[in-house]
């Protein structure tokens, strides 16, 4: 696992912990491959808050079809998706070099 991947996973986990704490839940048990919506730690409103933060924090515009458990279901998938979007953005951004 890359350093970038683990850093992003840690950031997302920290945000989930904050959201869960506000609802009186402890998210410290969440591991990288736990299916977040099925964990029982965070409800739909909390997930919406998480997604809004995720888009803003990583500069991602999620399309409705992006929001699936296959893309964003676990900490690992969320981090992988963010890295992939970052790379896609870098490769499609014109640099001005010829």
């Amino acid at each position: 696992m890359s350093e970038e991947q683990s850093e992003i996973e840690a950031l997302i986990k920290q945000r989930i912990a904050e959201i869960c704490a506000a609802m009186g839940e402890d998210a410290s048990v969440l591991d990288a491959d736990t299916l977040i919506p099925a964990s029982g730690l965070i409800d739909s409103a909390g997930l919406l808050e998480l997604l809004a933060w995720y888009e803003q924090r990583f500069g991602i515009d999620l399309a409705p079809e992006d929001i699936t458990i296959d893309n964003l279901g676990t900490l690992r998938q969320m981090a992988t998706f963010a890295i992939a979007r970052r790379r896609a953005r870098v490769t499609t951004t014109p640099t001005g070099d010829h």
Partner: protein, 384 residues
């Protein structure tokens, strides 16, 4: 061809409305359903929505004007450079020549009285072939004796804030846009609707199972349960036009499309996000559309036309474990359904309804239908 947008009647007692905002400048495109103006009486502020896609090509009224109901506020065109008619109707009630009811218009003395009291000639019953000063005086006497001041009455406008202010020392704070929207909603409900409330218990487990199966099938991240319940409401509103209607004058106004209002809490704000023509969507697309507006509401990124125009609504306070949630009817609607689930596990579906339109039996029947998730037999053919 230019299309006029008129000042709406907000209630039966007010023949004048005050223009409080004209958010779309001349030359700017506006979509059908977008807000072109806000007008106010002493009872409510309402949005004047755009009847069709187009451009604002002329503003006849100005912010602050008190205009007659039915007068032209502004003109819409198909392009930004289309010319508004040269003979555009005046919006000001003080422009009194050419009353629609009489070829000769009010008498000179009547015109003077109308100007003095800020009245529109069309508001006043005439006793002969033209409006006379006696007609105006009779109207004023009847109005004054009713104790109902009009928004056009300058003394009332000045007196109102002081009358509402408590004697205890404090300071005024302007309401935010969201707070004004809430105020508009509760004021409409208080002044126009006759709200009733009914609730039933429903089988939450059956709905959870249905939602879980749907979620697995569509690989969803967010629970679709509330969206699926709202979809059931949309179907019922589509099949039963009375659920999707309001009262206009002494008639029932049935909306042609079902615009589903769905409450979304975003921090301390409560949005009523609107999915227009929801019955035209397939179930899965509707669920995606709800998730999309929820997500954008949480990020405070909803467009203006996604926050108005609901014809029937759904709300939930399931997250907060309240045992009862009595929602307020959004303006010009007759039904809002609310889901709640207490800590002890009791699950209820409640509905606030406008008794002018719906009976308790009709609402109870609808709630029982929403309370049961659809079986495969109930499901309509997929729409694209």
């Amino acid at each position: 061809m230019a299309v006029p947008v008129h000042a709406p009647r907000i209630n039966n007692n007010d023949d004048l409305v005050k223009v409080v905002s004209l958010p779309v400048p001349v030359g700017i495109a506006v979509a059908r359903g977008g807000v072109l103006a806000q007008v106010e009486t002493d009872k409510a502020i309402v949005d004047v929505e755009c009847p069709d896609d187009g451009y604002v090509i002329s503003q006849v009224a100005q912010v602050g004007d008190v205009v007659a109901v039915g007068s032209v506020l502004l003109w819409l065109g198909r392009s930004a450079d289309e010319a508004a008619p040269a003979t555009a109707e005046p919006a000001s009630p003080t422009a009194l020549e050419g009353s629609a009811r009489s070829g000769t218009g009010p008498t000179a003395r009547a015109r003077l009285l109308l100007q003095r009291h800020g009245l529109a000639p069309d508001a006043i019953p005439i006793s002969a072939d033209r409006l006379t000063a006696e007609d105006v005086e009779r109207y004023l006497a009847a109005r004054d004796s009713s104790g109902t001041p009009s928004i056009g009455d300058a003394s009332f406008r000045q007196a109102r804030p002081a009358a509402n202010r408590p004697d205890i020392d404090g300071e005024l704070h302007e309401l935010s846009g969201n707070e004004r929207g809430v105020l508009r909603t509760v004021t409409w409900s208080r002044d126009f609707a006759v709200p009733g409330y009914i609730e039933i218990e429903y089988d939450h487990g059956a709905w959870e199972s249905h939602a879980a199966a749907f979620s697995t099938q569509h690989r969803l991240m967010l629970s679709p349960m509330l969206a699926l319940m709202a979809w059931r409401l949309v179907q019922l509103a589509s099949e039963t036009p009375r659920l999707n209607s309001t009262i206009v004058g002494e008639s029932r106004y049935e909306y042609r499309s079902v615009n589903l209002g769905f409450t979304v809490q975003a921090e301390d704000l409560l949005y009523l996000a609107v999915i227009r023509d929801a019955a035209a969507l397939a179930e899965a697309r509707f669920v995606t559309a709800i998730a999309d507006v929820q997500r954008r509401a949480v990020a405070h990124k909803l467009a203006h036309d996604e926050l108005s125009g609901a014809t029937v609504s759904f709300s939930s306070m399931g997250r907060w474990n309240v045992s009862r949630h009595v929602p307020v009817l959004p303006p010009f609607t007759s039904l809002i359904v609310a889901q709640a689930r207490s800590k002890s596990g009791a699950s209820v579906l409640g509905a606030t309804y406008d008794h002018r339109v719906l009976s308790g039996f009709q609402v109870a029947k609808a709630l029982h239908q929403i309370g049961k998730p659809p079986t495969s037999v109930d499901r309509p053919e997929s729409k694209s």
